[in-house]
Amino acid sequence: MDAKELIARRVAQEIRPGMLVNLGIGLPSLVANFVPAQMGVFFQAENGVIGLGARPPEGMQDPHLTDAGGGFVSAVPGAASIDSAMSFGLIRGGHLDMTVLGGLQVDEAGHLANWKVPGKMVPGMGGAMDLVTGAARVVVAMQHVAKGEPKILPVCTLPLTARRRVSLIVTDLAVIEPSDAGLMLRERAPGVPVEAILNATSARLIVPETVPEMQL
């Protein structure tokens, strides 16, 4: 299992039946592959659909039905199409149960930076600030390190996406839960010792007596 699949499988375990969930583009979008249809979960694409479905069969794509990355999608039975005001009303009004987003950095306060690298990459925040501010639960799905550099830091050096503390960080090495006391190490990836996680993290982690392996 590669790192992305491991992260997506572990994040999928956070999703409960009947939830309304928004998945970011890229790695987070893989989570849908590991959520069984019978759970009755509705995925939202913020450009205007509740009940996002799989890619349509070849030749069946319709330009009126795309996801937030502009890719062709389908819709599941019970889906609803909505305009952007309704879509962000769901997000900002506390009606979205969970969002899963990628991250550039997360810090000891549980703050996320994921929209800008000054001087290098200024794509714009899109819906990320609204999602982190408004969703009931915010799960960050990301690689633990980028090009050898830790992404979980004492304090984010990149511009923050929101002041809100995220709910959970899932990486290819660990599951970490930000709390009042700091970052709690909750789980480790199969075969990964705690020492390896500490070495790949520049933030201080609180390590309980036992850190179980992820059950994938």
Partner: protein
């Protein structure tokens, strides 16, 4: 509704330097012929308010590539490297705005509200230079309303009085944009007799629409 226009005639109505709110999300639901006509008439100095600038060669991306836009308010330009390059070169003044805040600012403009109070952006760069207002102990950013000289709408169907309905994710910013333009020009994919669009299916009432674009058959 004042009547139907060719894309060329509509583009002539829009002077250089005008402000435009344009519907669409990654070009889905954008008024494509109208954009093509603005490019063809070599429009200049436009202010564009829209979710994104799609990508080069698509939707609003064509206006960017043509050098028609000097000011942009959008939530995302990450998939159009030309917009980023022109921003860095100083050719386009770009204001980035969270997507939910952007649609609410357009809604506020269109509905006559003095602004929007939202926690989105608090404690981030988005807060810079903005007023923070406390309501019942909770802090909010004051985000100001947006209006424009023209709203350019992409719709699925229109009827003869200008009632509009939209298809799936092609509605996005369009219904709110139609409220916030002083002149509203809608480009439907088909025009049908009055009555074909059931009253309950109308998302933009025709009273908001000034002009429809004629279909290419004309």
């Amino acid at each position: 509704m004042k009547g139907a226009l060719s894309p060329q005639a509509a583009a002539e109505l829009i002077p250089d330097g005008a402000s435009l709110i344009i519907g669409g999300f990654m070009a889905v639901g954008s008024p494509q012929s109208l954009i093509d006509a603005l490019v063809a008439r070599r429009a200049r100095g436009l202010t564009v308010i829209a979710n994104d600038t799609a990508m080069p060669g698509k939707g609003i991306g064509k206006l960017i590539s043509a050098g028609a836009v000097t000011r942009l308010i959008a939530s995302h330009i990450g998939l159009n490297p030309e917009t980023q390059a022109r921003m860095i070169a100083g050719d386009i003044d770009v204001e980035l705005c969270p997507q939910g805040t952007l649609i609410e600012r357009i809604r506020a403009g269109g509905m006559g509200l003095g602004g929007v109070l939202t926690p989105t952006g608090l404690g981030t760069e988005v807060e810079d230079g903005k007023q923070v207002i406390e309501v019942d102990g909770q802090r909010f950013l004051l985000e100001t309303p947006l209006r424009a000289d023209f709203a350019l709408i992409g719709a699925w169907q229109a009827d003869y009085v200008g009632n509009l309905c939209y298809m799936l994710t092609a509605q996005n910013f369009n219904p709110m944009a139609a409220l916030a333009g002083r002149t509203v020009i809608a480009e439907p994919e088909s025009i049908v007799p009055v009555g074909v669009i059931a009253p309950d299916s109308v998302k933009t009432p025709g009273v908001l629409v000034d002009h429809l674009l004629v279909r290419p058959a004309h």
